[in-house]
Subunit: 613 residues, 2 copies
């Protein structure tokens, strides 16, 4: 049953060699790697205005969004330049975990890696909730159901990924270019209307006018929220090996194109938001409000919402390709359980995919599907690795000291400085939202190191060649204990088998029935059927069969060891024809196994007798 | 961890022989066996008035409760007499399952048994929700939390029973007699006040006055709800063997005493309810309203509520002793899974106890903790077995035809007739509440028969002596296959062990790494360490290790069979020092086992290597 269901949802297994190489053109790469970054404009401007409105409910602070947006664009420029450096320096793929580990050492790399693990969960959570809000902005009937809709979307994307959606899947480019076209049209139409005077200036205050409560703090708060528009910029630098030759040049060019589009979109949307005097509200997103102002409540508006929801789904999907890869790399370095290295039937890293989905759903549930509550934590998770990798690059340039190394270091230092400043701002001004980071990260690092320690210990103990010489055993024979609960065909089969492998066979029966006649009958039956096998009856005063079995087995094992015999314990078990029928039979065998496997030098065998009907 | 927790909650295991006999005096038996019946008065009258008020919101139909109560008392008399017959006829304990099976055959017995299984769940659900309402009537702050409180109470009673509360536990008598005393005081004080003229007649209409909408249907609806006061009357007849000698006489006398108390309570409460003009409402139970009217809002009222809640908890507890016993009897007859025959560490039938608690919690959740929604289903569950056992008794007397058999049959026939009529009334008038019975019962009966069929098939296949002669095998030797994933101390230990039991040992390795060098290295390492063991490398194009393993094992097993060798497959496995560390290692062994155990004539061994650190 389960198997058929799985096959239906996940599809049939793929051969290992089906995993082919791929090389991305700039056009395709732009679509595949920039969905996360470009889709950020769906919530970036909204985050700024939400902060501004929260402080000055009159909307008097709204003109602040213009200078805040300008600073975000400066940050974008710095980060883009920095990442161009990384692309050329690490053509093998320069994820923050790799760059930070290489330049700052393993522990710092783990901080970057841990941040990113959490961050990918947040990518999924933020993208999906923002996408859900794009849907509910267009379809009012769905408002109030953000959490269940978001959870369903996460599960759907998870299933798609378990089926093995390719990062290179051509159909993923459609939503991205659809979104690019829609936003471009919206900005151009909006600006045209403004220039031709069709839309009057609706902002409460012109830029530069003063209002009560204006302050540097407010500016920084708005800036820290607006920086969420820059999440996902690093994706291209991680994927350099997937580009067409010359890989670094193509990757760097794609990054620049993406940054230009992102800058245009972010600037355009923020300007329109300011000009239209748009105020964020709980029901309709800022982007949707701009859409309504620009297009009216017609087909174009619905297309815009569809495009937004779709690119956000694709953005969430990037989390599903990045997280399992990072988990794989961490597992390969033995910081995470090996199971993250197991590929599923469809060649995806199923455990990583499922873990990510669970993490994202938990985040959505905790933050009640509210994008603006998730954003500060998301920003910390993004800018900590940014800071670590950019500052790592400074070290890298200094170590290499190639041509123009001072200029290159300056660029990376600037990126590191702004990113680092942002992290400090976030902790100073948004502590109520980002404090979980201070709990999650130490816990993750502790877990990483604990797991690594365990794997190292295990490897040391298993190695054939080590300081402790291996003791090979040449047994003189074998003792076999057969557990007997009653005398049936199963017992007969097990005894016959035991004789084929054992030099000394003993049958053991645990009785706790208060009816001694039954016990005598079992003993008699056994002796008449197997006259030449030793039969030991052990009486238990308790209902437990495990303790007396263990006691007896210990005695036999000790004798066996003295004779240099190996010891095997056989648990005869019949298997019903259908799986569900197992619940109709006592699961003593499983319970015994968990007790017996605590013993050294004891091998546990299960003799299976298969029922035919 | 789990073990310590279990020990803490459940207590330490008890010896089997601690299970002692017990013999109940009338005084003790009355308390222990009548809590279910006596506690019914806490909700019986309320059920009648609720029906009456639902039809005529003006309360004009309220005087109906007097004739309805009179008919309930007639039914009580008939049932009491019938059960006195059963006590004498089945001194070994006359549960409905037993009486119906004996007289009507197995299938009818199963209907009775299935009804009772559901019924005991309803006993727990109804008693606990009614008890919770007694609490919330006294403590308004808890209103609106009936479901969680009820669930907590069920879990508490479950834990007590897993610890092994004795049916004979002396402390259980306290709440029962406490309740008896409190209700008796209330009725006497109430009647005294009425007779001395302290309380005026507050009923909207005197008995016999006509009102719009009065009808036979209404009368029958009210009667069917009021019959819930009679649930639990059968308990004494099931427990005859536990009485002091002369068992049947003492049991019959106890039953009569209980019936008299019940009649007095039910009549008194209903009369007070009528006289006071009490109307059921969602917040305060009818019994609590009577208590307030009688005692005022003082200490006596709170004592009454406490007594009510306590006896209802004891009544729920009777479900916890009856259900596991019935499940045990059904399991002994092979209609339910064997696991219901397993006694827990504390000698209680843990599986039955836990199943009952889960069932009750599900019922409470489905019916949202509303006693009046549960009552009709409860009544059907009670009166179907009543009908079957009473009519079975008629057959019994006819078959025996002893002295006065006609008179005895008449009494049982009357009981059967009234019970049967009640069932028909319930189905006709309360179908919206009792329809689940028509789904649950066929499903249960189907399950019972299916399970029985399975056990019979299994027994036939396992029996040593049967039509198909047993084939004993004298193997000429043994083939042992060792699964090797890499060459470590675990492999070395497993190979040494394999040699001690095998005449022919072969090592098998499945490779799916795309890196052929690694495979060569494994092969080389193996051959240098174990030069005299055959090593087979199998390449898999899929990620699955199970399918190629199975293919290879099949070939070896076939060869082995031709040589008359037994075949063993050894899965070497290291066990980490701490249990949680298992999640850090691949669970391939478990997966392999589930595939391999589908094969005949193949024994699966696990060689355990225990890590020391």
């Amino acid at each position: 049953m389960w198997r058929y269901l799985k096959r239906l949802v996940i599809g049939k297994p793929l051969k290992t060699l089906d995993e082919g190489g791929q090389s991305l053109s700039r056009f395709k790469a732009l679509a595949l790697l920039s969905s996360d970054a470009l889709s950020s404009v769906a919530y970036g401007t909204e985050q700024i205005t939400t902060v501004l409105l929260a402080v000055a409910a009159s909307g008097a602070a709204m003109w602040f969004q213009i200078p805040v947006a300008a600073l975000v664009l400066v940050l974008l420029a710095a980060i883009t330049l920095s990442y161009r450096m990384i692309i050329h320096a690490y053509p093998g793929g320069g994820g923050a975990y790799k760059v930070a580990s290489t330049n700052w050492g393993q522990h710092t790399g783990l901080v970057a890696g841990g941040s990113l693990l959490v961050d990918y969960m947040l990518t999924v959570a933020v993208s999906v909730t923002a996408g859900t809000q794009a849907i509910t902005s267009a379809i009012p009937a769905l408002r109030g159901h953000v959490v269940p809709i978001a959870v369903i979307i996460v599960v759907l994307i998870m299933c798609l990924n378990l089926r093995g959606i390719r990062e290179s899947a051509a159909f993923l480019t459609v939503p991205v270019y659809f979104f690019v076209v829609m936003i471009a049209i919206m900005i151009i139409v909006g600006l045209y209307n403004i220039l031709t005077g069709h839309v009057e200036f609706q902002a409460p205050l012109a830029v530069g006018q003063s209002f009560g409560g204006m302050s540097v703090i407010l500016f920084l708060r708005a800036f820290s929220s607006g920086s969420s528009s820059l999440t996902g910029v690093e994706a291209i630098s991680n994927a350099v090996p997937n580009f067409k030759e010359p890989k670094p040049r193509n990757a760097a060019a794609t990054l620049s194109i993406m940054a230009l589009i992102l800058a245009f979109f972010f600037a355009g949307i923020t300007f329109l938001s300011y000009w239209y005097g748009i105020r964020p509200n709980h029901d309709v997103t800022v982007l949707a409000q701009i859409g309504i102002q620009t297009f009216g409540h017609g087909a174009f508006f619905y297309l815009l919402q569809l495009a937004t929801a779709m690119i956000l789904a694709v953005a969430a999907n990037t989390g599903f390709s990045a997280f399992p890869m990072l988990a794989y790399n961490l597992a390969k370095d033995k910081f995470m359980p090996h199971m993250y290295m197991d590929k599923g039937d469809r060649l995806g890293y199923s455990n990583g995919i499922v873990s990510l989905a669970i993490g994202a759903i938990v985040l959505i549930a905790i933050f009640d599907g509210q994008t603006d509550k998730l954003i500060p934590l998301y920003a910390v998770g993004v800018f900590v690795p940014f800071t670590l990798s950019q500052s790592g690059m400074v070290k890298h340039w200094y170590r290499e000291r190639g041509s123009y190394w001072i200029g290159k270091s300056m660029i990376n230092a600037l990126g590191a400085f702004i990113s680092g400043a942002l992290v400090i701002i976030l902790f100073a001004l948004r502590f109520d939202n980002v404090w979980p980071y201070l709990i999650i990260m130490p816990a993750l690092i502790y877990m990483f190191l604990k797991i690594k320690g365990h794997y190292q210990k295990v490897a040391r103990q298993l190695r054939l060649v080590s300081q402790e010489p291996i003791v090979r055993r040449e047994y003189a024979g074998s003792t076999v204990i057969v557990l007997v609960s009653n005398v049936t065909r199963v017992t007969a089969g097990a005894i016959d088998y035991a004789r084929s492998i054992g030099d000394y066979v003993v049958a053991m029966h645990v009785s706790f029935d208060t009816d001694p006649n039954k016990e005598h009958r079992t003993a008699k039956e056994f002796k008449s059927e197997f006259p030449d096998v030793r039969y030991v009856d052990i009486h238990s005063s308790y209902r437990s069969i495990a303790a007396p079995t263990l006691r007896f087995v210990d005695v036999i094992a000790k004798n066996s060891k003295e004779r240099n015999y190996s010891t095997t314990i056989i648990i005869p078990q019949f298997t019903p024809k259908k799986g569900w029928q197992n619940i109709l039979h006592n699961q003593t065998s499983l319970r015994l196994r968990t007790v017996l496997n605590t013993r050294d030098d004891l091998t546990i065998s299960t003799y299976y007798y298969h029922l035919k009907e």
